[in-house]
């Protein structure tokens, strides 16, 4: 297992920053023009793309071992169950 990461070039970070910057503005634009039902899912989808970029590049998950990826996957599954159960409870109350 690699204990030390090779330095990520400055350019990579600037590129990711630019993409995150633009996606934020896209989200604001969508919120001003799109219809409600479409808007919710479009905005959440773009926020999720931003989140995955932060996780993989900025937080270096891309360079980490499998253990880190299994960890984050487990976390996502747990949160999904958490959300699913809450909504089914509220829905059938």
């Amino acid at each position: 297992m690699e204990d030390k990461h090779a330095p990520v070039p400055y350019r990579t970070y600037f590129q990711i920053w630019a993409v995150l910057f633009v996606l934020t503005l896209v989200n604001v634009a969508i919120s001003q023009i799109a219809q409600y039902s479409l808007k919710v899912w479009a905005i959440l989808a773009i926020a999720s793309i931003q989140a995955s970029l932060i996780l993989t590049i900025l937080m270096h998950l891309k360079q980490e071992s499998k253990l880190f990826r299994i960890g984050i996957l487990t976390l996502i599954v747990i949160v999904a169950i958490f959300i699913g159960l809450t909504f089914s409870d509220v829905h059938y109350r």
């Binding site: 600037f14 919120s31 808007k39 996780l55 253990l67 949160v79 909504f87």
Partner: protein
């Protein structure tokens, strides 16, 4: 020379385990938000419209930029550019302070309009409207507290770099602090659309 026992991967994984608990903490708030939104979409829309989208957008961009500078600080230290790394840490702190100042003006404006948890104005308004602002103050308050902790943490890290305690060879402390800072950014990436854009 003493023999040093270190496990950098272990240290990073420990940080990730802590971050998992942070995600669970904020997910709880997001779930309450989602359930309440489903119940009172109209009230949420009215409440959200009183928030200033411009300040929200600017703060999002500020936080994204601070995530960039702390990332650059890691590469700088790994390339043995000590001064550059310290400067980048200080820029990150500066951006975080600007974020909090914006937040202060936002909260002040709302409080001046009589909107704060437990206020008479909220007690008299629609249940969904009050729920929105109670959640808003709690979530942004908890997030703001994380920013404050991050400012202190990165300040300590900058001092440690200056004293030569963090170097290209042993940069895990800086990397873990950056992980924390990115998580604070990650949480905001969802707080911003949920409160300012979606309703």
């Amino acid at each position: 020379m003493s023999i040093e026992h270190r496990d950098d991967t272990g240290a990073r994984f420990g940080m990730w385990l802590f971050l998992y608990t942070e995600v669970i903490l904020f997910s709880g708030l997001f779930i309450i938000y989602a359930v309440t939104l489903a119940k009172f979409p109209q009230h949420f829309s009215e409440a959200s419209n009183t928030l200033n989208v411009y300040i929200g957008t600017i703060n999002t961009l500020i936080l994204l930029t601070s995530s960039l500078t702390i990332s650059l600080a890691i590469t700088a230290i790994q390339r043995d550019k000590i001064k550059q790394s310290i400067t980048l840490c200080l820029v990150t702190i500066g951006l975080a302070v600007v974020f909090l100042i914006n937040k202060y003006f936002e909260w002040s404006a709302e409080i001046n309009h009589g909107i704060y948890p437990g206020s008479e104005h909220l007690a008299d308004s629609a249940p969904g409207f009050a729920a929105f602002f109670n959640l808003y103050f709690f979530t942004t308050g908890l997030h703001g507290l994380h920013i404050l902790i991050g400012i202190v943490l990165i300040g300590v890290i900058a001092a440690m770099i200056a004293k030569g305690r963090i170097t290209a060879e042993r940069s895990t402390m800086l990397e873990n602090s950056a992980l924390y800072w990115h998580l604070v950014d990650l949480v905001w990436i969802f707080v911003f659309p949920l409160y300012y854009l979606i309703p």
